[in-house]
Structures are given as structure tokens and as C-alpha cells.
């Protein structure tokens, strides 16, 4: 459905590499996630795939159409929801939707089945101007507008950034329902916890792809045994663990410190004794499965 081959984008006089030799492919009906921090190059990739930006190297096809030569066909067949809300704030929900349906030469009625689930949630406010909507409602409206022409591929650039946790959860459920309608979805997000909701993900950092696989395969490939430790004094704990002879890596992860040790492994007793000498009381010690975030940090360290 989407095939990206060694695509590159360079910005400005400093020749900053925003996208560096990126290749990946997305299958039909797949929910594909681009996961990476801000400035990783996610938006640049989206803008190139939606024909808003010309690549400086490499090539890509969407729906079999070349992103440079066949931009017209691509514009007819993809839906794009930019990271920044970019509908007309001074038009109402209804007017925005009608407008975008019309410019794609279709009507709201024709593809209503696609947006029905989402639209009924904002329908009570359909006379309200888009600028006066809450963040979650704006996202829903933007998604409706991106869907109204029945695109075969949907590009969602950070759709959940700045949206509350409940709306985020709802949003991902909507995406699952859309996937069921056989729409290919490419979504980007800086939230690692959303990665597991995708079929396949690409971890991206500084314009380069670190790994592409299913979330399960990526977490399974984490090389070390991961242990979560908890103490009252987090910074002291991190410092002490860093000086521990058998340590491989340690970093803060929420209220825990995630640590990986050398091949021989360690026992809880061993750590406890060591930490006591450092005047740190260990509250918790447990073996855990690596999350996507652990994998991401692991890739960055290598």
C-alpha cells in the first residue's frame, strides 16, 4: 500500500538531515505507527507522503502512485490530519465537513457510514464554530474531515498530542474501527504506550529508523533481563546503581528505576546488601517485561 525507499529530506543552509535514508512499507489495512520523540522527522515523512513536501532523495509510492509524479491521484485518495488543528475556526462543524466533502467532489451523505460513529459524538454541537470546540472534539472533527472523501490511506500526524487520556483512548478505539473498514492507517505519536495499539511500528530518532516490527516482536527482542527497583530516594538509587559493578544500564522510569545487569544476573539479596551499604532502603525488586519505551532507550544507548 505504501512503499518508502531510502527517502531523505534536508532542511536549510545548515543541511540538517530531517529524514535520513528512511525505508519502510505498510500493507493494506494495516495500522502502522511511527514512534519517536519530537523532532525525530515524523512530520517530514508525513508531509512527503501526502505530497506537501518534495523529498531530496529516494522515492516513495502511496497506493502505487509516485509521491512526486502522481501527486494528483494521491491527493484524491488519501486523508491527512496534520498535527496542528487546521480546519476553518470561523466555520461551524457542519460547514467544515460540508466544505471538505465538496472539495473532494462528494457529499457528507455518501460517506456518512464511515464517519457515523465519530460524528454522532459531535453532532449535538454541529452549529458551533470549530474554534470554540474542546481539544477532543476538534480531533474528532478533523478526523471526520479527513475521512469524508473515503480515503484508502489515512495519515494521522500526532492525533493524540494535547488530548486528555480518556479522549486518547476513545481515539484509538475509533482507529481500530476504521481499520476494520479496511482503511490503511499511518499514525505518528510521541507516546510510547500507544505503540502497542499499532499492528506494526517503526521506532524513529533523528531522522533514522531504529527498528521496524510488531510491538510484540520489538519488546521480545529486548536483549537483557529487566528489573524494576523502587526506593524512597530515586536520585540516590540511580547514582548507587550506576556505580554497582555488575550494572549494564539503569534509568528512571516513572516511580521505578529500570536496570539491566550483566549476563551472570543478580539476586535481590545481592542488590539489597549493596544498597544498604549506600544507606538506601530498597522497597521493591521485581523482574519485568520490557516495554516499547525500554526498547527505545535501549536502541538509543547502542
Amino acid at each position: 500500500m505504501i512503499q518508502v525507499n531510502n527517502i531523505t529530506k534536508v532542511y536549510g543552509k545548515e543541511k540538517t538531515l530531517a529524514v535520513n535514508d528512511v525505508s519502510f512499507s505498510v500493507k493494506e489495512g494495516e495500522l502502522f505507527g511511527l514512534i519517536g520523540p519530537d523532532g525525530a522527522g515524523k512530520t517530514s515523512i508525513f508531509r512527503m507522503l501526502t505530497t506537501l513536501l518534495l523529498p531530496d532523495g529516494g522515492s516513495a509510492t502511496v497506493n502505487g502512485f509516485d509521491i512526486v509524479k502522481d501527486f494528483k491521484q494521491i491527493r484524491n485518495s488519501v486523508g491527512y490530519m496534520p498535527g496542528k488543528f487546521s480546519l476553518y475556526q470561523d466555520l461551524s462543524i457542519e460547514e467544515n465537513l460540508n466544505f471538505f466533502a465538496t472539495v473532494f467532489n462528494t457529499t457528507v451523505e455518501e460517506n456518512y457510514h464511515l464517519i457515523k460513529d465519530i460524528y454522532i459524538q459531535i453532532e449535538p454541537f454541529k452549529k458551533r464554530r470549530a474554534g470554540k470546540l474542546s481539544g477532543g472534539m476538534k480531533q474528532k472533527l478533523a478526523l471526520c474531515c479527513a475521512l469524508i472523501h473515503k480515503p484508502t490511506v489515512l495519515f494521522l500526524d500526532e492525533p493524540t498530542t494535547g488530548v486528555d487520556p480518556v479522549s486518547r483512548k476513545e481515539f484509538w478505539e475509533m482507529l481500530k474501527r476504521l481499520k476494520a473498514q479496511n482503511i490503511t492507517i499511518v499514525v505518528s505519536t510521541p507516546y510510547m504506550d500507544e505503540a502497542t495499539l499499532c499492528d506494526r511500528i517503526a521506532l524513529i530518532q533523528e531522522g533514522k529508523i531504529l527498528s521496524i516490527d510488531t510491538p510484540a516482536a520489538i519488546t521480545a527482542s529486548y536483549p537483557d533481563e529487566l528489573i524494576a527497583l523502587k526506593s524512597e530516594k530515586m536520585s540516590a538509587l540511580l547514582k548507587a546503581l550506576n556505580e554497582f559493578p555488575k550494572i549494564k544500564s539503569v534509568y528512571a522510569f516513572g516511580e521505578y528505576a529500570h536496570a539491566a545487569f550483566q549476563e551472570s544476573g543478580v539476586t535481590e539479596e545481592e542488590i539489597k546488601t549493596y544498597l544498604t551499604t549506600q544507606q538506601i532502603a530498597l522497597l521493591e525488586f521485581k523482574k519485568i517485561e520490557a516495554t516499547i519505551e525500554d526498547c527505545f532507550i535501549g536502541f538509543l544507548k547502542n
Binding site: 501526502t50 513536501l53 491527512y80 496534520p82 480546519l87 476553518y88 470561523d90 472539495v103
Partner: protein, 372 residues
């Protein structure tokens, strides 16, 4: 066509929703047309005059009263010496000094000639020029009066004199407002058209809506036409309101054919809207567009022959004026409204403005990219 229809509906509903802009579009021209022509008056009155009368004779008194009776001059000082009078100029209380020498009356009668001295404060060029000219005119007049009085009418005047009489055409009373109102209306139409169109596309860029438009299959020329037409209509509304104001307040009724006037405005609006669009394609923010537009507006206004005659400009400035579309509108407005010129007379102007419209719009369409 259907797409354009919808784009227009969208633009108009956005314009009508922005109440403050709408009010500005209507109220601004009315206010400016009412206030500006009253203030921008070239007829200089109240010129402050300092007089040094070294003669204190009947004749010198008569000259002074003639000057003050003219209505143009106000006696700011009646000084004993040039030094005192000059102090008045220095403190900006006087614009002109008239010095009447000693034995003014005696020499005038005995030797049939006499000189007076006029010193002009030239800081305010217009006031100085006109003041000097008015004063010279009054002196000439005074001179003629004296001749009549001194030379007995029975004698035939030995010197042939060319007497100049003039009659003012198209603006019989030399009313400055009649001349200014059409020019100011021309500038208003230019400003409304230029600013609205320049800011509109840039606003879409700034808010990000252009991104969403760019991924749609809307064609470039559809999008640009969708932007041009609403402002073209608004430009016509502003122009009509302006014409009504100049009729109701100043009693100016176009002497020429209204259709010629509107026909010219239609083409002119295309040119100026194209210019606004062109600027908007080069700018990223409304602030940038605003400042660039201001830069050009200043040139359009000051080098378009509104206040100063283009013929009086140096050659390089005349060349710039030729590339200023406002020049042609101001000229045509005055031609048609005051002189009643026909289509035939304004055809060269129309041709040039049409050329502006073609070049600017083509440039704007080419430069408006849907991809970067």
C-alpha cells in the same frame, strides 16, 4: 464551477462572520472620505505676516490694509526693525516678512518707482511658495491701483500691457475638495483591495488551513479565483459607497459615464487584488504581509499624483509613477468624474492597468505552490 461556488460560499460566510472587518470595510471609507478632503486642503489661509513699516505714510498704510483685507494674511507683528521681525520667524510665529523702506511714498510719487522687501520662511515649502505668490499678487494689484490714480486717465497708456485673464474649467471655483475626493476614493479602493487580499491567503498559511486545502484536489486557479472574487465584489461595494458619500457630502456627481468609471474599477481591482495575492504568496505571516503592503501603499499614495503632480516630479520618480497602478486610477477618476472623459480618452490607462492585472495575477498563480 461547482468547486468555485463552494469556495465562494465559504469565503463569504467567513467574511460576514468577521463583523469587525465588515464594519471596517464600510465605515473606514466613509469616515476617511468625510474627514480627509476637509483637512487635505492646499488652499493656504492664515499666513502669518510680520510688517516693518519704515515709512509710516498713507501709502504704506494703504498697502498694509490691502494685504490684511485679502483674507490670506494675518498680521502677526508690526515691528520696528528687521531683527525684531526675524525673531518672530525664528519662534515660528510669522511666515513672511514685508519690509517697507523709508520714503516709500515720497519716492513712489516723485520717482515713480519703489521697492519693498519680502522675506519668506521656506521651511514649510507650500505655505512659503503660495504666501510669496499671494503677496506678490497683492502688490501687483496695488501697483495697478496706483497707476490708475497717478496717471490721469485721459492720457493714453504709452506702454503696451498684456493683461492676463483666466477661467477655471471643470472646477470653476478651484475648490480643492472637488479635486481631492476622487483621488482619495481611488486610494481607499486600492487600500481595501490590496490589504484584504494580501492578508487573506497569509492568514490561511498562518492558521494552517492551507495545509488541509493543499492535500485536496482543488486546483490552484480555483483556489485563487475563490479568493479574488469575494474581494473584487467588496472592492465594488466600497467604491459605490465612496461615490455615494462624495455625492451626498460634497455634491460631486460624476460628469462622465458611470459605466466607464465602473469598467475601469473592475479591471483595476483585478490588478490590485493580484498584487495583494502576489505579496501573500511571498509571506509566511500576516505581520510580514502587512509591512510589505504598507511599504508599497506609501509609494502608491505619495507617488501616485494624489497630493503632488507627477509632472513636477524628477524623471526617475516619474518612471516609478508609471509602474504605480494607483497613478492611473487617480488620473482616470479625476478625468471621468470631473472632466467627463469618454472611454476613448481613458483607453490608454485601461490598457496599462489591464496589463498590470495580467502580469500580477499570472505571477501570483505561478508563485503559489501547493508543495514546498
Amino acid at each position: 464551477m461547482r468547486i468555485i461556488g463552494f469556495l465562494l460560499r465559504k469565503e463569504f460566510s467567513q467574511i460576514f462572520r468577521n463583523k469587525s472587518i465588515l464594519a471596517l470595510i464600510i465605515v473606514m471609507p466613509v469616515m476617511q472620505l468625510i474627514i480627509l478632503p476637509l483637512a487635505a486642503d492646499y488652499e493656504v489661509k492664515n499666513i502669518n505676516l510680520a510688517v516693518i513699516d519704515n515709512d509710516h505714510s498713507t501709502y504704506s498704510q494703504r498697502l498694509i490694509s490691502k494685504i490684511t483685507a485679502s483674507g490670506y494674511f494675518k498680521l502677526a507683528g508690526y515691528n520696528a526693525s528687521f531683527k525684531d521681525a526675524f525673531a518672530l520667524i525664528e519662534s515660528d510665529k510669522a511666515d513672511l516678512i514685508l519690509e517697507i523702506p523709508q520714503h516709500f511714498e515720497k519716492n513712489l510719487i516723485r520717482e515713480n518707482k519703489q521697492q519693498v522687501f519680502i522675506a519668506v520662511n521656506a521651511i514649510n515649502g507650500t505655505k512659503a511658495n503660495l504666501g510669496g505668490a499671494y503677496l506678490a499678487g497683492i502688490l501687483r494689484n496695488y501697483n495697478a491701483d496706483l497707476r490708475l490714480q497717478l496717471i490721469s486717465p485721459s492720457k493714453v497708456d504709452p506702454l503696451p500691457v498684456i493683461e492676463i485673464t483666466s477661467s477655471n474649467w471643470f472646477n470653476a471655483y478651484m475648490n480643492y475638495r472637488v479635486f481631492m475626493v476622487p483621488g482619495i476614493l481611488a486610494i481607499l479602493v486600492t487600500m481595501i483591495g490590496g490589504f484584504l487580499s494580501a492578508l487573506n491567503i497569509v492568514k490561511e498559511k498562518e492558521v494552517g488551513t492551507i495545509e488541509q486545502i493543499n492535500v485536496t484536489p482543488i486546483k490552484k486557479h480555483h483556489f485563487i479565483l475563490g479568493k479574488l472574487i469575494p474581494f473584487w465584489v467588496l472592492g465594488n461595494v466600497v467604491f459605490t459607497v465612496g461615490l455615494l458619500v462624495s455625492w451626498l457630502i460634497y455634491g460631486i456627481i460624476p460628469v462622465g459615464n458611470l459605466l466607464v468609471l465602473y469598467g475601469f474599477i473592475w479591471v483595476y481591482l483585478l490588478a490590485i487584488l493580484g498584487f495583494g495575492l502576489l505579496i501573500s504568496t511571498y509571506c509566511e505571516t500576516q505581520q510580514q504581509a502587512m509591512f510589505i503592503m504598507f511599504f508599497f501603499m506609501m509609494i502608491f499614495i505619495l507617488m501616485g499624483g494624489l497630493f503632488t503632480s507627477i509632472d513636477a516630479m524628477p524623471p526617475w520618480a516619474q518612471l516609478i509613477a508609471k509602474f504605480n497602478p494607483a497613478t492611473y486610477l487617480i488620473e482616470v477618476m479625476r478625468m471621468v468624474i470631473l472632466k467627463g472623459s469618454h472611454l476613448r480618452d481613458v483607453l490608454p490607462h485601461l490598457g496599462k492597468v489591464f496589463l498590470f492585472a495580467i502580469v500580477l495575477n499570472t505571477w501570483a498563480v505561478i508563485n503559489y505552490k501547493k508543495t514546498t
